[in-house]
């Protein structure tokens, strides 16, 4: 910082002003002193901050009949527990003196202008608001989306107000009915802004950024293609899963292969039932059994045998049926169903052998029954289900990859590409 030394014009005592200071007071006579020597004064030196956006200072645009020029750019930063976050803000000065602020806030473009609220709030009221609080400024009402303290990290271009690196401001952002509202305050002033959120395309059109617009067109076509692919895959998944649901059928009951067996008849050797004819070599069959018990628990096994007594396939289940009365009144619980699928190797005559084993120390009640049946032509549905799931995952993946949120990463890629071009 430069120091300018001079004499007090009133009493002649030595006085000094640092660059950046306009006024001082003479230490001897108290005369107010002001600088008048320079048309401009140095405020601070800046370091370079590359833009993330492709927006250039000097760009002109017509907004509501007034020509604006982007004259200044700020990089603002906020330090919190997650580290330093940075964002950019541009100032647009209109030919009539209207000032607009353009801000890139977490991927959203915000264009705002100062306003006079009918119900202003001061620092004490603002600093107790937090994310999710309601804010009522009279004609503008909203929900607070964020607040904190930002610091000016970088200054570039021209501004209609005094700005310096290192300046700190408290801020509060809120979503309002018509767009958004933000408030900035310090010990010297509190300022209210309101504006609209713009999409990337709207911004590029507004600023006439043709290259970015073309790149966005290409990108959006790619994204739309992905979305279409995603929908197609989801459609395929829906069809596959529908078939899978339909295929969870029981097939055709085989005539003669079925019946009801009194479990008490099944001794240690089991009770052999049949023969019955199975003709569907290579086909899938389902053996289904359903018990009928009362106040007991019996292990039931059904085994498919050929005429020679070789055991080929089987289904088994601990079946039980209990009921009683407790403080809630009467209760009844049962588990009486079992099934197994198998593929028939060759046609022929077959038997079902029924085994039953009661709980230790109990015997099988005479009215305990098992009804069984065989169903031919069961469609084994696993491959359909797997296909449906894969198609569904692909569909969702394409939809995510095609979502508009991917545009911001595209902008990152574009920016990197343009930097490569510059090199």
């Amino acid at each position: 910082m430069r120091v300018i030394n001079f004499q007090c014009p009133s009493c002649g005592a030595p006085a000094s002003l640092e660059s950046g200071e306009m006024t001082a007071e003479c230490a001897q006579c108290g005369n107010p002193l002001r600088r008048a020597d320079a048309a401009v004064q140095q405020q601070s030196a800046a370091v370079g901050y590359a833009t993330q956006s492709g927006i250039r200072l000097g760009t002109k645009t017509l907004i509501q009949g007034e020509e604006f020029e982007i004259t200044g750019r700020l990089v603002l930063g906020e330090r919190d527990e997650e580290g330093l976050s940075q964002w950019e803000e541009w100032v647009l000065i209109g030919e009539r003196g209207t000032v607009l602020y353009l801000e890139l806030d977490e991927g959203r473009w915000k264009l705002s202008r100062p306003f006079v609220p009918s119900r202003p709030l001061g620092p004490a009221e603002l600093q107790v608001l937090h994310e999710g609080s309601g804010i009522n400024l009279g004609d503008e009402q909203g929900i607070v989306t964020g607040s904190g303290t930002y610091q000016v990290l970088h200054v570039e271009g021209e501004f209609p107000y005094a700005v310096r690196r290192g300046q700190e401001h408290r801020y509060l952002d809120a979503q309002s009915l018509n767009g958004f509202v933000s408030v900035e305050w310090s010990e010297e002033a509190v300022e209210f802004y309101r504006g609209q959120v713009m999409g990337q395309r709207q911004l590029y059109v507004m600023l006439g950024m043709r290259d970015e617009l073309a790149a966005l067109d290409v990108r959006e076509r790619v994204l739309a293609g992905r979305r279409t692919a995603g929908k197609a895959w989801l459609g395929a998944a829906l069809i596959a899963l529908s078939f899978w649901l339909v295929s969870l059928n029981r097939g055709q009951a085989v005539a003669g292969a079925g019946g009801t067996v009194r479990l008490a008849q099944a001794g240690e050797e089991g009770y052999r039932h049949g023969p019955f004819r199975l003709n569907g070599a290579g086909k899938l069959y389902r053996l289904v059994m359903r018990g009928s018990l009362s106040q007991s628990s019996i292990w039931v096994g059904l085994v498919l045998e050929d005429a020679a007594g070789a055991q080929l396939a089987g289904a088994q289940r601990d079946m039980w049926d209990e009921s009683g009365t407790d403080s809630d009144g009467y209760w009844h619980e049962a588990d009486l169903k079992g099934q197994a699928d198998f593929r028939l190797e060759k046609a022929g005559d077959y038997f079902i052998r029924v085994y039953a084993e009661p709980e230790p120390g109990r015997s099988i009640a005479p009215d305990a029954l098992v009804a069984w049946s065989l169903h031919e032509g069961v469609i084994y549905p696993t491959y359909l289900g797997v296909y449906g799931l894969i198609a569904g995952v692909l569909g969702i993946a394409f939809l995510i990859a095609g979502s508009p949120a991917q545009v911001s990463s595209t902008m990152q890629a574009l920016k990197e590409a343009s930097e490569d071009d510059d090199d």
């Binding site: 048309a39 401009v40 405020q43 000065i93 209109g94 100062p114 271009g157 310096r164 010990e187």
Partner: protein, 209 residues
């Protein structure tokens, strides 16, 4: 933008073009020095005052209409604070009423002074965000600053002595703008409203933009 001006960078001496009369801060393209545009104004003796001709559509003597009301610009005062300056134009309407027109960060405000009918807190005790009563309405403090009269021209209803310290409190009076100005001899109180650019037309003879 109208009438670009050029300064020199105080750090490296490179030309520092300023594109618009609304610019108050500018950075050097070469050395990235950030500078405040203050314009040569006042010599340290406070004896003579000279206003740098900042490009503007207004001028003393100009006439026009504001929301249809004919007016004449009688005078202007330029104020300078620690890092900025602004002009206030003294307007006389054909019905005999007077008003102050101020341009500040893209918002034009027309204020009329009112007689302050009740005491207000001392300047030193006022903080941004405070509320107090002015003429039966709530004055909410949005800004507090100390400035000096940098110069004046034309006819004014008070003596604008160059170098005179003026303390300002700007505020919001139930949705309108307001100001309190502690001058050397009195406290001025004014109430105003934002004015859109298209609500002001200047007569051609008066030097329209």
């Amino acid at each position: 933008m109208s009438q670009p001006q050029s300064y020199q960078c105080p750090s490296c001496g490179a030309p520092l073009p300023v594109s618009s009369r609304f610019v108050q801060t500018v950075t050097c393209e070469y050395c990235r020095t950030v500078s405040a545009v203050t314009a040569t104004g006042l010599d340290p003796t406070g004896e003579t005052a000279r206003l740098t001709p900042l490009p503007t559509r207004f001028s003393v003597g100009a006439s026009g209409r504001l929301r249809g009301r004919p007016f004449r610009i009688l005078g202007r005062v330029r104020y300078r604070a620690s890092d900025g300056q602004w002009d206030e134009w003294y307007l006389l309407f054909d019905d005999g009423r007077a008003g102050w027109l101020e341009e500040d960060e893209g918002m034009m405000v027309l204020s009329t002074t009112q007689k302050l009918l009740n005491p207000v807190p001392p300047f030193e005790e006022i903080r941004v965000g405070d509320r107090f009563q002015t003429n039966g309405q709530t004055f909410f403090v949005t800004e507090k600053c100390t400035a000096a009269v940098a110069g004046s021209e034309g006819e004014l209803f008070f003596p604008a002595v160059p170098g005179a310290q003026v303390r300002f409190v700007d505020g919001n009076i139930e949705g309108r703008t307001g100001f309190l100005e502690w001058g050397p001899s009195a406290i001025e109180f004014g109430v105003g409203d934002p004015v859109e650019h298209e609500e002001i037309t200047l007569d051609a003879a008066g030097g329209a933009a």
